[in-house]
């Protein structure tokens, strides 16, 4: 048994409760139920499966570590980059579609601008080890204000929890120092949005981490990451000429 399992499990159950708190009609709770199993046995079974299959493979490093970055750090940074793509995409789409009220748009515009800046910074650090953005399908979340707020709260909380899990696992102290500059901003986002929507901004004296594997499963269960449409081909054109 991994020595980190117990605290991670506790924190995930806690995060599941947090999600339930902001998720009155159960959409995200359903997601959380998949990502945050209620028994240690189920948790371990799913962890082994996730590590062997999708989650770990999706974000695996290619072995070509850049100077000053270990394979481990590249894997962590790539995971963070995909998460930033996901978050930045959510805020960008919501802002472009123009369905948010001015009050929500006020913070969504600022938080979105921060997430896009994070994305640029992590991509710059990864250099040739970067990964392209997946294609996202946010469904109605970017046009339904309530769903958008719930999703934003959940993602900001979870990102802060993830960075806490990753921090002690980073090899480079320079990357750790940089990651901490992101972490505090993500927690500010979480508290800010929580305050705006009437939730307790800082409910506990201590926060707990959420693992990368659990985060990957949560993202997968939202179905926000979609198959990339094939917009180009090599067949002979069937146009009138």
């Amino acid at each position: 048994m991994n020595e980190h399992d117990a605290p991670v499990l506790d924190s995930l159950e806690e995060l599941a409760l947090t999600l339930a708190e902001v998720d009155a009609d159960g959409a995200l709770q359903e997601t959380a139920a998949v990502a945050f199993p209620t028994t240690r046995f189920t948790f371990l079974k799913r962890s082994v499966g996730a590590l062997a299959a999708g989650a770990a493979g999706l974000f695996a490093a290619d072995g070509a570590a850049a100077v000053g970055q270990t394979k481990n750090d590249i894997q962590i940074l790539r995971f963070d980059l995909v998460l930033e793509y996901l978050q930045a995409g959510l805020y960008t789409e919501a802002e472009r579609l123009g369905a948010l009220t001015p009050k929500t748009l006020d913070w969504a515009r600022v938080v979105g601008a921060h997430e896009r800046a994070h994305l640029v910074a992590i991509k710059g650090l990864l250099g040739r080890n970067t990964v392209p953005s997946p294609t996202f399908n946010y469904g109605n979340v970017t046009t339904n204000e309530r769903a958008f707020i719930r999703t934003a709260v959940a993602f900001e909380d979870l990102t802060a929890a993830l960075l806490k899990w990753q921090a002690p696992r980073l090899d480079s102290r320079g990357i750790l120092a940089a990651a901490l500059t992101l972490h505090s901003v993500e927690t500010r986002h979480a508290a800010w949005i929580r305050h705006q929507v009437g939730l307790q901004p800082a409910a506990d004296a201590f926060d707990k981490p959420a693992s990368q594997q659990q985060m990957a499963r949560l993202i997968a269960s939202t179905r926000f990451v979609a198959a990339r449409p094939r917009l180009a081909g090599r067949r002979r054109p069937r146009v009138t000429g």
Binding site: P229, P237, T240
Partner: protein, 265 residues
């Protein structure tokens, strides 16, 4: 009475001064708490330089043009109104005649009790037809900031990005009996490497359709492509397609993403 108070105060001050002196003599001068901080700082290693610094927040440009499209996830009936009992306008397939993912240009969306409905431009005859489909039938939105304008009288094509021209070329259009249709359309796909010099190196499929060549393979869609007869451009020379010299279509292929709205006038 007053004199007695002054004497007491002087006595207290002397006692405090004596006490402070005694502490300083015993502890080397600085208060104990400051000593602790000084020791802790000297024992720490030097700080690591952050591997990256996050730059300024990246705000969206409010002047950007924002057309959006979405892939068709499942074959679906486009309806005249945004409700399930409305009449069907057309069936939308999941693939184009070139085997790429079919897409639709999004005009607007409405949320109702039975879900979100999206008003889309359709690649069907009569041209410029629109219809409503459930949001769930479509994939994620993708945004483009470009628009292609083809002027049939002037025989030109101009690509705008965020409203500013970034490309212009002379074109060939349909002969009078196979006219290139006018209207609002969009770019559906891009094909290359097919090895047919008649279409040049690159061809774009559009949602526009010839109203007369309906029996053409694929249904008579209007394309934008290169040519093996550059001397005919500009002119009214095609079966309805928009032809460009190969150098121009290659340049356009680098600048124009699939999903770009197309205006033919």
């Amino acid at each position: 009475m007053r004199r007695r108070a002054v004497v007491v105060a002087l006595g207290l001050a002397a006692a405090v001064a004596f006490g402070v002196k005694a502490v300083q003599d015993a502890g080397g001068g600085a208060p104990a708490v400051d000593d602790s901080f000084a020791t802790a700082v000297t024992e720490l290693p030097g700080s690591a330089r952050p591997a990256f610094r996050v730059g300024r927040p990246v705000l969206l440009d409010r002047r950007e043009s924002r057309a959006r499209f979405a892939p068709v996830l499942r074959s679906v009936e486009a309806l005249a109104q945004p409700r399930p009992d409305s009449a069907s306008v057309a069936t939308i397939a999941t693939e184009t005649p070139e085997g790429t993912t079919n897409i639709v240009l999004i005009l607007r969306a409405v949320s109702r009790q039975d879900g979100t409905w999206v008003h889309v431009r359709l690649p069907v005859l009569p041209n410029e037809r629109t219809g409503w489909v459930p949001r769930s039938a479509l994939g994620g939105y993708q945004f483009v900031h470009t628009q292609l304008i083809v002027e049939r009288k002037r025989l030109t094509a101009t690509l705008l990005r965020d409203g500013r021209p970034v490309f212009s070329a002379r074109v060939g259009i349909g002969q009078p009996h196979w006219p290139t249709p006018a209207g609002e359309f969009y770019i559906r796909d891009k094909v290359s490497g097919f090895g047919d010099p008649f279409y040049g190196p690159v061809a774009f499929g559009t949602s526009a359709r010839s109203a007369v060549l309906t029996d053409w393979p694929g249904g008579g869609f209007v394309g934008i492509h290169g040519t093996n007869e550059p001397e005919l451009i500009p002119g009214r020379v095609s079966h309805g397609c928009i032809r460009m010299r190969n150098a121009d279509i290659l340049r356009l292929a680098r600048l124009m993403p699939v999903g770009t709205p197309l205006t033919i006038r």
